[in-house]
Symmetry: C2
Subunit: 203 residues, 2 copies
DNA sequence: TTGCGATTCATACGTTCGTATCACATAATA
DNA sequence: TATTATGTGATACGAACGTATGAATCGCAA
């Protein structure tokens, strides 16, 4: 069968959803093929192993995410403006393609080397932000300091809000599914990152 | 045997180390009892189940961590000063008792409800920081805004630096074990959080 | 229609998992 | 000393796991 929705694609889609939601070890091949309406052997046949499917599924979401970040980085304005644009882009994409952040954070929390696709995404995004920071330091919009550390401070906020948003519902009664309320969060984070990086600031 | 280092304690210690390093599902009871030099049945006997041991081990590290935060929150100075003190305390405790952050973030990344001990720690710490923020807004050191959102922006940075530090070694060549270099990071984060929250700021 | 590569399918294998069982050692109590 | 609670130990059990295997089926060129 090679219709518009072949098995290989369904496996990738389902794997992305389940791995993102529950993590690598908590999802079994049997879970995936059941939800994808595929045979038990399909994962081995199309990808070779569970690990390979995991990495392939991550790349599927990682690629557009990285491109989103890269294209937001090209927005007009000062270095600081462009960092803020990237933050907005990263947070607004939460419903779709937001799983890349979750997966990456999970891998970071574990020991051992980062799997290659995660390492690639991290390097790529950090270097984009660091580039914006250096540009901002030259145009005077961003304060002095190690560009790498500043980049991490900027990244930390959207990352944390993304994954903490679930906990917030329980712990603090913040509703995450209400778009208006989430927009308030996005505004806050973008503004907050500006404060974190800005060279000067009044009031 | 009920000497100075009974089986129950050894199990807690080893469980804390392994769960923190690799996550719940990636660690088996057999791994734990092997490293703790205990019998396979020891976990069931002393804790009832693997889950129960996991939660018990988390509480062991969560309690002193929460107390560290609470006591740093009592340091002198403005609200902003006290938030910075908490950030420093949280980051300096990384080598020991830093696992609470890692475990909590991992649970946040998963779906489903937070396990009770994690929920408790999160609520406790967020509410401490939020209290400091509200105090800072009253004494004029911290800018206006939703105290909960501001608290999350403050927390995000030490949290992220803690777990990203491993990835940074690989991705960016930052050495984490060098105390001097780590101190530079702590200084950066503390300063950065001040910038994030401060009401006014010049140069 | 035939033949063949590509895919799907049912099933089996060996391993590892969490937990349960029950005999045994140990230390305190009567 | 006899008894009892408490802990330790070796082993077993059923389930779930990732993967392998070989037959069945499909799509399509010859």
């Amino acid at each position: 069968m090679n219709s518009a929705d072949p098995v290989r694609t369904r496996l990738l889609t389902v794997a992305e959803e389940l791995f993102t939601r529950s993590g690598y070890e908590a999802v079994s091949i049997r879970d995936i093929v059941a939800k994808a309406k595929a045979n038990l052997g399909a994962v081995t046949y199309h990808f070779g192993s569970k690990q390979a499917l995991y990495h392939a599924a991550f790349e599927v979401i990682s690629e557009p995410f990285a491109e989103l970040i890269a294209s937001a980085a090209k927005s007009p304005g000062s270095g600081l403006d462009r960092v803020a644009a990237v933050v907005r882009a990263a947070l607004t994409t939460v419903p779709r393609r937001g799983g890349a952040v979750t997966c990456l954070l999970r891998e970071l929390a574990n020991d051992g080397p980062l799997p290659p696709p995660m390492l690639k995404l991290m390097q790529r995004n950090v270097s984009v932000i660091r580039g914006l920071i250096e540009a901002g330091q030259q145009d005077g919009s961003i304060r002095d300091g190690d560009p790498t550390l500043l980049a991490l401070s900027a990244i930390s906020q959207p990352f944390y809000f993304k994954i903490a948003s679930r906990g917030l519902e329980q712990a603090l009664g913040v509703k995450r599914d209400d778009p208006a309320q989430w927009m308030r969060v996005v505004d806050h984070v973008a503004h907050s990152v500006r404060r974190t990086l800005a060279r000067e600031r009044a009031s």
